[in-house]
Amino acid sequence: MRDMDIGSGVNTIFMDPDPDKAREFFAKKSRAMTDKRITVKEAVENYIQDGCYLSTGGFGAVRIPTAVVHEILRAGRKNLGYYGHTTTHDFQLFCAGNCLSKVDAAYIVGLEARGLSPNARRVMQSGEVEVCEWTNYALAVRLKAASEGVSYGIVRTMMGTDTFKMSGAKIVKCPFTGKKYAAVPAIWPDVAIIHVHESDIYGNCRIKGISVADMELARAAKHVIITTERIVSNDDIRSDPVNTAIPFYLVDAVVEVPFGSYPGNMPYEYFSDEQHLAEWMRVEKDPAAFEKFLDKYIHSVSNFYEYLERCGGWDKLKSLREKEVLV
């Protein structure tokens, strides 16, 4: 499998990297500063169809848009494409719903220090999901290239490895120095779902703490759904413009979802619920128990607040808040 002379990865590129087609889309996207608040249900109905390509913001189980992912499972969306840089609980959720048919993978199946997801592993070993290999940085550069309106970016990574061979990257040479780079194709996901700390009703957003690859993602995605801990006023945003991470004209939908990253960590707000995440891993080992579990926590609840209630409600959330802020 190792061959130092390969010039191209062998795998399929799932999304068209043509920047003029992306420009054509963006030419028509509204730049008007209008009230974009809708419900989680409406966001999924309006923007997420079977077969579309998604990316979720955050990293690991940190600042993830849980409410929208749950709704995607409830709505039974199928054959989704997914962008998997270090994705953990969100990836686990999509596998639980058998939602995926294509994955750009840098880090899937795993849950970082927590171990591996038995069910996600089962799904990924089934052969039912087409995989293209990348690295975290390669995926970030694919978004960055799209955010720059160009069809590729170059990185000094992946080269010489099977990760490169099983990717969709190509080797290019610098016209100035002759140095080799892995060229990675731009990716314009159909929809990005990003959970943020604060947004105004128009979609001007603030992220507190690390931004991971969400600056690039919000700029690359054709549609952007924001879930936010809090709605703030436009005056508030304008009083501190250097802290705006995402400007309104990129955003299609704004949904206020307090504790929206639960059971993940929301920096400065609440820590991850390790008990609940451990329960996931436990029940995933037994398909029957897992089905019951999914029914209890996702399918039979009508919204995210009911889910929070079933997970322990305010007492639980209060303890996670304390765990986060009383370090």
Partner: protein
């Protein structure tokens, strides 16, 4: 033989001594992070710790559970993004990267993608994550892993993350930055470096209680042994104290 430390503690204390003061290290969660924290509290107070998701030089209050969780930028000098961190590696500002892996070969190439055939894997692992990026772009890669024949293999089933690839010059020929590559492998049996000429693994020091034969038996390829073969120092009492009381009091890593 009685010893007042476990293998994980030995590995962490040993590895921590390779992190020089005033250098930069990219770490993940778990043992690598514990190692960097220990080094900061012992020989390298000015060691700069960087996390892949964007945390730069935090004052770590406790072990993070995710490379992106809020501990990774607690009182950090900067909370940036993945791109900031990865480009810092690419520019040649990051001295050490700290990795693990399911399989490793004599050139220090790592597999963390699949065991078995790629299309019909026995086990699917997470994949590169940022490991390939770090091992490609940081100056020196350190690897910590348990020493066993199914980990140290002649040929990795999938080359996720580059070591010295196929030997001398092959990293540069592939396009990777000059003079970068694997530096030390720290296991429960030994510390290994790489032979300058062949770029293959060479045992540099043997851990307390281990033997050359035992090391070779637990390795799936023929090992070189250094002419200056030494014994790995045991963890010092103050290292163990700091590791147990300050770095990992809940035994997240060292308890296993």
């Amino acid at each position: 033989m009685t010893q007042n430390y476990n293998m994980m503690e030995l590995m962490i204390c040993t590895a921590s001594r390779y992190l020089e003061d005033g250098k930069t290290v990219a770490v993940g969660t778990g043992a690598p992070c514990a190692t960097a924290m220990l080094a900061q509290k012992t020989i390298s107070p000015n060691l700069v710790i960087l996390f892949e998701a964007g945390g730069i030089a935090p004052e770590l209050p406790s072990m993070p559970i995710s490379v992106g969780d809020s501990r990774t930028f607690h009182k950090a000098v900067m909370a940036a993004g993945m791109s900031e961190m990865m480009t810092t590696c690419s520019r040649g500002i990051v001295d050490y990267a700290f990795l693990g892996g399911a399989q490793i070969d004599k050139f220090g190439n790592i597999n963390s993608t699949v065991v078995g055939d790629y299309y019909k894997p026995k086990v699917r692992f997470p994949g590169s994550g940022g490991a390939n990026d770090f091992a490609s772009m940081c100056w020196n890669t350190l690897i910590m892993t348990v020493h066993s024949k199914n980990r140290f293999v002649e040929k990795v089933d999938f080359l996720t993350t580059p070591g010295y690839l196929t030997g001398p010059g092959s990293r540069e020929a592939a396009g990777l930055p000059d003079n970068s590559g694997p530096y030390k492998i720290i296991t429960d049996l030994a510390v290994m470096g790489f032979d300058d000429k062949t770029k293959t693994m060479v045992v540099e020091s043997i851990n307390p209680g281990a033997t050359k034969e035992q090391i070779q038996e637990n390795t799936g390829f023929e090992l070189l042994f250094s002419d200056n073969l030494s014994s790995t120092s045991e963890p010092k009492p103050e290292e163990l104290k700091i590791l147990r009381e300050e770095v990992d009091p809940t035994k997240l890593v060292i308890g296993r």
